[in-house]
C-alpha cells in the first residue's frame, strides 16, 4: 500500500495530463497549447492516445566527494539501495561526480541506459546544479529532468558522529529525490533580450575599477555615487600599505579615467530609490528622478569605519583618535610629533561592538607606526594587540620592518586596555600577557584600530535588490568560495568592502572579477531564464482573482475569454514578470495555477517518500 500511495500523486498528475492531451490545444488557443506534462521522450514514442506516459528510466549517481560524503555515509550501501528503487535502471558511485570522469559517467549512462531522468546525490544544488544540468543538456536530456539530492551539506557534514544514521538518512533523501524525479517535466526556458548596459552602485575604488572595466569592454555604465565626489574611503587615506604610495595618487587616476570615459555616465550625488525587473532588464530609478534600464548590476557601496563611541575615551578625551583620523592628521602635513603613541588593536571588533576581525587594521596600524617612526624615530610607538594578523608575504615583511624600527608590540588579554587622563597626559592601562603583569603606558596620542562596519543603507538596498545580508549586515555572496562575487540572484554582483572588510588591492581584484561576471550577459545579448514560472490550467481556472491580487510582481492578470464555459475571466501569467515563488500555487482553491518544477504532486511525492518505511 505505501508504494501504491506514493504513486498516487504521480498518477494524479498523469490523470491531468491525459485530460489536457485529450483536448489538444488549449481552449483559448494560447495559454496551454501543450499537454500539462510533456514526456521526456522523443515525440515519435508518444502515441497521441496513450493513457500511460512512457516509463521513467532513472539514473542515480552518488558522489563520495572524496571522503566528505564517503567518509561518513556508506556510499556503496546507498547505491545498492537506490538500484532497488522503482524506475531506477542505473545506479553508480563516483569519487567526485562533478569531476570530468563523473560528468562523463553521467553522459555515458544517459545514452547507454536510455535514461530519461538523472539524479545526482552529492553537495548542494545552490552551487552545483548548473554544472549537472548543463551536463544533462549536453547529453540530450532536458535539464529540468535532473534532480539533485544534498548528501553533503545536509547529511554527511552535519551527522559526522552518527555514520549509521547518516547512511539511513542518505537512503531516505535519495528515495525522496527519486520520487520527485519520476514526476519531473521537461521545460523550455524563455530567452530574454539583454539591455546591454550596466549599473555600478558606489564610486569608491571598487566601484570605479568595476565601472572602468565594464566600460572598457564596450558597454555603457551608469555609475551611481551618493557623495558629491568619487574615490570613497580610499581617497581619504594617507598612504597605502604596503607600497606607501599616496592614496590620492593611486585613486585619483582611476577616478579621472572614469570621469573622462565616454561610456560611463556619472550620477552624483545620487542614490537608487527603486528597482524592478530581472537580469537583462532591470528598471532603475534614482533619487534624482532619472530612470534607465540596465542588464546587470554591480554593488560596490563600501563600508564605514566604526565610530568608537564610548570606547577608550574616544570623543571625550583629547588625543584619542581612530586610525582614519590619524591618517587625516598625517595627510594634512607635518604635525607636532608626539613622544609616545599607543595604538590599540581590535578596538570595537572581535567581541566588543562587532564579532568579526576587520582584517585590515593590523597592517594599517603597522603602516602608520612605520610612517611615524620614519618621520620621527624618537617617537615611541606601542601597538597593543590580541594577536597580529598580517597575512601574505608583503604584510608580514612590514611587520618585521616595524619591529626593526623599534615599534613595540605587546599582547593584551584577556581584558581590553583602558585609557584615562592623568596629569594632563593620557595613560593606557592593560595586562601584558608577555610579562604577565599589569602595565601603564603614558601616551600623547592613543590611536584606536577600529573595524569596518556595514553601512546602514545596506539594509534598504538589500531589500531593493532582493539580495541577502549576512549576520554582520554586510552583503552575502552566493558562495564564499565558488561564487565570491555573485549574488544568488542572477544579474547582480558584489565587490569591495560592501561584502566585508578587505584591503584596496583585494577590492580591485573583486571589482575586476565582478565586472567580468557582469559583462557576460551583456556580451551574450540574450539570456535564458529559469523555466520555474507559474502556469494556468484554463479549463479549471474559476477566474476568482486571488492570484492576481496576491502576486507581488503583478505577473498575473485576469483576462476575459469567451469559450465553452461562457463569457468569463481566466488568469494569465506573464513569464517575464513571474519570479517563480509559487505563492499563487498555494492559494489557488482548486490547483488551477501551478508552479512549474515545484508542483504539488512533486512536493507531495517527496513527503510520501520521506515517510514511507523501508
Amino acid at each position: 500500500m505505501p508504494e501504491e500511495k506514493a504513486q498516487g500523486a504521480g498518477r494524479e498528475a498523469q490523470g491531468k495530463e491525459e485530460g489536457a492531451r485529450d483536448k489538444g490545444v488549449g481552449k483559448d488557443g494560447g495559454e496551454n497549447p501543450v499537454p500539462l506534462s510533456a514526456s521526456p521522450l522523443e515525440p515519435s514514442s508518444l502515441a497521441p492516445c496513450a493513457l500511460r506516459p512512457a516509463p521513467c528510466r532513472i539514473g542515480v549517481f552518488i558522489c563520495h566527494c572524496g571522503s566528505n560524503i564517503g567518509g561518513i555515509v556508506d556510499v556503496p550501501a546507498v547505491v545498492e539501495y537506490a538500484s532497488r528503487l522503482k524506475d531506477v535502471v542505473h545506479a553508480e558511485r563516483n569519487l567526485y561526480t562533478c569531476a570530468d570522469d563523473g560528468l562523463t559517467a553521467i553522459k555515458t549512462a544517459i545514452s547507454k541506459h536510455g535514461l530519461n531522468r538523472v539524479l545526482v546525490a552529492s553537495c548542494t544544488p545552490r552551487t552545483h546544479a548548473p554544472l549537472f544540468r548543463r551536463t544533462c543538456e549536453a547529453a540530450g536530456l532536458n535539464q529540468y529532468l535532473f534532480e539533485f539530492v544534498n548528501l553533503r551539506e545536509h547529511c554527511s557534514w552535519v551527522h559526522m558522529r552518527e555514520p549509521a544514521r547518516a547512511t539511513e538518512k542518505a537512503k531516505a533523501l535519495v528515495k525522496m529525490g527519486v520520487a520527485r524525479a519520476r514526476l519531473l517535466e521537461r521545460q523550455e526556458e524563455p530567452v530574454l533580450d539583454i539591455e546591454p548596459a550596466a549599473m555600478v552602485l558606489g564610486g569608491g575604488v571598487a566601484g570605479l575599477s568595476a565601472a572602468l572595466s565594464i566600460a572598457n569592454q564596450g558597454f555603457p555604465v551608469h555609475l551611481v555615487e551618493r557623495e558629491p565626489e568619487l574615490g570613497g574611503m580610499a581617497a581619504r587615506l594617507h598612504r597605502i600599505s604596503p607600497t606607501y604610495r599616496n592614496a590620492r595618487e593611486v585613486v585619483g587616476p582611476v577616478a579621472e579615467a572614469v570621469s573622462a570615459h565616454p561610456d560611463i555616465r556619472l550620477h552624483m550625488p545620487a542614490t537608487m530609490t527603486d528597482l524592478s525587473g530581472y537580469i537583462g532588464n532591470f528598471e532603475v530609478t534614482l533619487s534624482t528622478g532619472e530612470k534607465f534600464r540596465v542588464g546587470s548590476i554591480v554593488v560596490a557601496t563600501g563600508a564605514d569605519e566604526l565610530r568608537p563611541d564610548g570606547l577608550y575615551g574616544w570623543g571625550q578625551l583629547k588625543n584619542v583618535v581612530t586610525q582614519m583620523e590619524l591618517e587625516r592628521l598625517m595627510a594634512a602635513g607635518p604635525f607636532t610629533r608626539p613622544k609616545s603613541v599607543v595604538m590599540i588593536q581590535c578596538a570595537g571588533s572581535r567581541g566588543q561592538k562587532v564579532s568579526y576581525c576587520s582584517k585590515r587594521c593590523c597592517f594599517t596600524a603597522i603602516k602608520n607606526a612605520i610612517l611615524l617612526k620614519e618621520e620621527s624615530p624618537d617617537t615611541e610607538v606601542h601597538i597593543l594587540h590580541n594577536e597580529i594578523h598580517v597575512y601574505g608575504v608583503a604584510f608580514e615583511k612590514e611587520y618585521r620592518r616595524a619591529q626593526e624600527l623599534g615599534v613595540r608590540f605587546s599582547r593584551y588579554s584577556p581584558e581590553k586596555p583602558s585609557v584615562s587622563e592623568q596629569n594632563g597626559r593620557l595613560n593606557v592601562n592593560f595586562y601584558d600577557e608577555g610579562l604577565r603583569r599589569e602595565r601603564d603606558l603614558p601616551a600623547d596620542l592613543v590611536v584606536l584600530s577600529t573595524p569596518l562596519v556595514a553601512r546602514p543603507e545596506a539594509e534598504e538596498l538589500s531589500k531593493m535588490l532582493k539580495v541577502p545580508l549576512g549576520q554582520d549586515r554586510f552583503f552575502f555572496e552566493a558562495h564564499v568560495k565558488l561564487r565570491p562575487v555573485d549574488f544568488a540572484t542572477d544579474g547582480i554582483f558584489i565587490c569591495g568592502t560592501a561584502k566585508g572588510p578587505t584591503n584596496i588591492g583585494e577590492c580591485v581584484e573583486q571589482a575586476l572579477g565582478a565586472a567580468s561576471r557582469a559583462a557576460i550577459p551583456l556580451a551574450k545579448g540574450r539570456v535564458r531564464v529559469e523555466a520555474i514560472t507559474s502556469r494556468v490550467n484554463t479549463d479549471t481556472c474559476r477566474g476568482c482573482g486571488r492570484c492576481e491580487s496576491e502576486c507581488d510582481y503583478h505577473a498575473i492578470s485576469l483576462v476575459p475569454v469567451n469559450d465553452a464555459f461562457g463569457n468569463r475571466l481566466v488568469a494569465r501569467v506573464n513569464e517575464g514578470l513571474c519570479k517563480g515563488c509559487g505563492k499563487c500555487s498555494s492559494i489557488c482553491c482548486n490547483r488551477s495555477i501551478s508552479l512549474r518544477h515545484f508542483t504539488t504532486p512533486q512536493i507531495m511525492a517527496m513527503v510520501e517518500a520521506a515517510l514511507e518505511e523501508g
Binding site: V158, H159, L469, A488, K583
Partner: protein, 150 residues
C-alpha cells in the same frame, strides 16, 4: 494500537523512539542556512528530511497535514525573516497559511508543537542547527504523533 490519550498527544515515547520530521525550507534563506550549517560542520539530529521549495509562500496547509497523516511526528517550515523575503512577501503568506494550519491541528487535537515555523537566514547556520536540535528534542518528548502507523 495503543490506548487513546486525552490530550491528543500519544503519550510518553517508547524508549528509543526516534521522531520523523519533515522540513520545508525556502531556497534562498533557510535552505542556504542549512547549507551553511553543513559547511561549518555544525552537528544536528539526523531525524529531519528537508524538502526544498523556492519560497515558504509555496507551502500549503495540506503539505503539513499530509505529512502528519503519513506518519510525520513533526513538521518544520522555515523561510526568510519577515522583511527579507526573496519574493517580497511570500513569507507573510507562509505565516498566514501556517497559522491557519495550526488552528486546524488544534481542532483535530494534534499538539500544535508538532508544527513549527522559523525564520532562518542564509547566514544563520547555527540557528538552523539549534532549531533542528530543539525541535527534534521537543517532538521526541511529545512521542509519536500516531497517524499513518496502523
Amino acid at each position: 494500537m495503543e490506548a487513546e490519550s486525552p490530550s491528543g498527544v500519544a503519550g510518553k515515547a517508547a524508549p528509543g523512539f526516534e521522531p520523523k520530521i519533515v522540513a520545508f525550507c525556502c531556497n534562498w534563506c533557510s535552505y542556504a542556512g542549512a547549507d551553511l550549517t553543513g559547511v561549518s560542520r555544525m552537528q544536528y539530529s539526523p531525524n529531519i528530511r528537508i524538502i526544498r521549495v523556492m519560497c515558504s509562500g509555496r507551502i500549503e496547509p495540506n503539505f503539513v497535514l499530509r505529512a502528519l497523516e503519513l506518519g510525520a511526528d513533526g513538521v518544520l517550515v522555515a523561510g526568510c525573516h519577515i522583511g527579507d523575503c526573496h519574493y517580497i512577501s511570500g513569507n507573510k503568506e507562509a505565516e498566514k497559511q501556517i497559522a491557519r494550519t495550526a488552528r486546524l491541528l488544534e481542532i483535530l487535537g494534534v499538539d500544535k508543537r508538532r508544527l513549527r515555523l522559523e525564520w532562518i537566514s542564509a547566514s544563520e547556520g547555527q540557528k538552523f542547527a539549534n532549531t533542528v536540535n530543539a525541535f527534534t528534542k521537543e517532538v521526541r518528548e511529545l512521542g509519536p504523533a500516531g497517524y499513518g502507523r496502523k
